[in-house]
Amino acid sequence: MSIRFEQVTKRYRGVPVVNDVTLEVAKGEFFVLLGASGSGKSTLLRGIAGLTDIDHGRIALHGRDVTFVNPRDRGVGFVFQHYALFRNMSIADNIEFALRIRGVPAARRRERRRELLRLVALEGMDERLPSQLSGGQQQRVAVARALAHEPGVLLLDEPFGALDAKIRTELRRTVREVQRRLGTTTILVTHDQEEAFSLADRIGVMHMGRLLETGQPQQLYRQPATRFVATFLGAANLLLGEVATPYRVRVGQAMINHASQARPDAVSSTEVVTVVRPEDIELARHRQVLANPCLGEGQVLETSFGGGVGRLLVQVGAGANLRAAARVDAQVHPGLAPGACLLEVTRTAAEAMAMPLAAGDSIALGVRRLHVLPTPVSSFLFRAPTREAVLELRQSPLVAQLVQSTRANLSETIVAEEQPGTATLRSAGLVVVDNTGRTPAEIASLVAHGARRLLCVPRGAALPRRVIIHCPDDAPQGEAMGLVASLVRHINAEATFVSVMRRDAVAAERTRVLRRLLDTRAEVRASHGLDLRTELLEGAVSEQLLALASGPDPALLVMGIDGDRAEIEAALVRDLGWLFDADARWPLLLSYSGPRPAALAAVL
């Protein structure tokens, strides 16, 4: 492994801007860190170079731990967005700078400089000053300078950001070629997905300080694991579907086969989020002539010409039972009918020529391909006795942040307290309730009535900076971890998986608990791409969790549970009894992984 980070974290004023990033970049690989501005990608890059100190974690280059090594001793080449050339030195002196420091003899320096200038196609520019070169040329010099001392790692921080489009493409090709020829392990940071696709062997997408997903460009585009990546890499229609059989999903009127069983917990009628790319939608005048399963019939709202591809906005009316998985709240299209679902479709020029379409035309839509996201948070269901209570719940900082960041659908049921669950609880993604003044029994009842994922938010709960995950010994953790992995990506918080064992535990018990801790961490990383902290505590569960939760930063508690109603209630009272005190302000997230209650199984 050439570059390896282990749980790298960097905080600014207590808020993690890089949050538990663990990553390995292979020798000679071209890795692109992609993210919007403020996602923490540049901070991470500067952390590798040592230009920014990190607060937690380790960084190793070529197997050598460099976490506390001086930036000048790390042997990296760094290329800055605005070139950062030494303006008072000639191009030759700029490139030879690192060699001079290392006491390389003049003849060798000259030779290396010529070689590098040839590599970046700037031969003969040796004696010019940086101010006499164009921006693109200056950045070429910066690349050559960063490579002069043959660093094992080349880091580029938005290197093409300050250049215009044509030069950017040209320079991109040069950088890729130089990297291939020298085989230098490279990490490039950019916010431009096109750039990432054209350069990367592998892409890592960063969001809110977390490395959400890594993978080859194709794979990330075809099979994203998160809503964010699905919509950030290219355009995507997010639609709600329902699992029919493990390999078939119902979306709108269509029943579609999909390649893999994406949701491990997918049982019949589970609500899922599907990704349909605009180019995977087929358009036809009538549903009979569609070559693919029909999604529904709709109307063209808008067409725009984009050169090689034409882009259309199509609405599918409420009658088709097609539901979007993402809210369109900012700019509702003026022609959009209430309850209709808005879809983006792209067609090649040839397709557009074969069937010209204009706004107002009626058409049928077919789906060529879709992908099911593994996220269990397909939508939010707010459950409260009154409309006002729902609104209050939505304004809680944690809920507001989740709703805003996931953009998932919202729905609400207004039911009096004590009334048992309804069928809506069962199909909802995440049920949100107010936890002020509730008892463990009420919560257990909600879970038993089908709220498998339940977020209980007390009045006055602050936005959590920590997530504390606790799964009682015997509860399976898979689903809880999937839920955690889905949610922590949307809040700036550090997640810790906690195991508590008795003080008088025997050696074998200790080994078992420790192994479980490490296994869980490895499993979460493997199946959800999320790195967790782990913490092993000794003593009474309830006491230890309370001590941990009472730390200075606000915490969110996550508990994985199973069993029947009585067992759930018992577990809550036993481990988290203090959470139901009148003045407790901790939000609680419950993940239920037990069998479906018999009462509901009957309904199905």
Binding site: G50, D53, D65, V66, T67, F68, V69, N70, D73
Partner: protein, 286 residues
Amino acid sequence: MATPAAWLEERGHASRWRSRMVRGLLIGIAALFLGVILLLPLVTVFVEAFDRGIGFYREALVDPDALAAMRLTLLVTALVVPLNTLFGIAAAYAIARFSFRGKSVLTTLIDLPFAVSPVISGLAYVLVFGASGWFGPWLEERDIEVIFALPGIVLVTLFVTFPYVARELLPLMQMLGTDEEEAAISLGAGGWTTFFKVTLPKIQWGVIYGVILCNARAMGEFGAVAVVSGHIRGLTTTMPLHVEILYNEFNQVAAFAVASVLSLLALVTLAIKTAIEWRTGHRGGH
């Protein structure tokens, strides 16, 4: 023996520690240097002024000669600052708003008094208005006193404070451009209306900034005034000259008492100047 990796790590830690040391050391040097050279003399002024108690301090200030010096200083300042402010606005307006030949020469000439030693400017005025100067005989015939009298003091003070307002306003007006003025004219506003309603409000902080600096220098000018004043006690001694006279008479406490008033004015000047800089985010050139 340490492995290279451990050694590098050691060096990394040491470097971080050294970085903090360097920072502390540099701040220490800067604070010590400014403390000894700037702050200590300033503090000394006040310490010495109150050396013999508040009563003596008050006495030194209400002394008729001291009062006369204060009156003269205020009078000179009251004449000089408005004249140079008017000039500064006019010059900056002409240079920043219009393009004409000889503009750069004019800009350089406005800066000229900054390059001339105050004593030499006093000398130059003596050569024009003194008894054997260009206009000396003519003035003497008409019994007009310039050198060793109020007009001479005002003239040299005008000279040494000449560039302050113009120097502040010129870059400011060049930076702000003429768009708004052109808009006002196109909307039918007249020249004076445009100036008072559009231009002046735009540059008001620059004007105040320049006036503050001009005022401080006018009150405190010593070298140039010393040459043309003649040191006639109670008549042609400004406050700085009065400080000199008292000091040379070994009346140290009285000298520092008067000096403390001037220092207070300097501190007020700095306070206003700093306040304007914070308010406008601008730092003037010198």
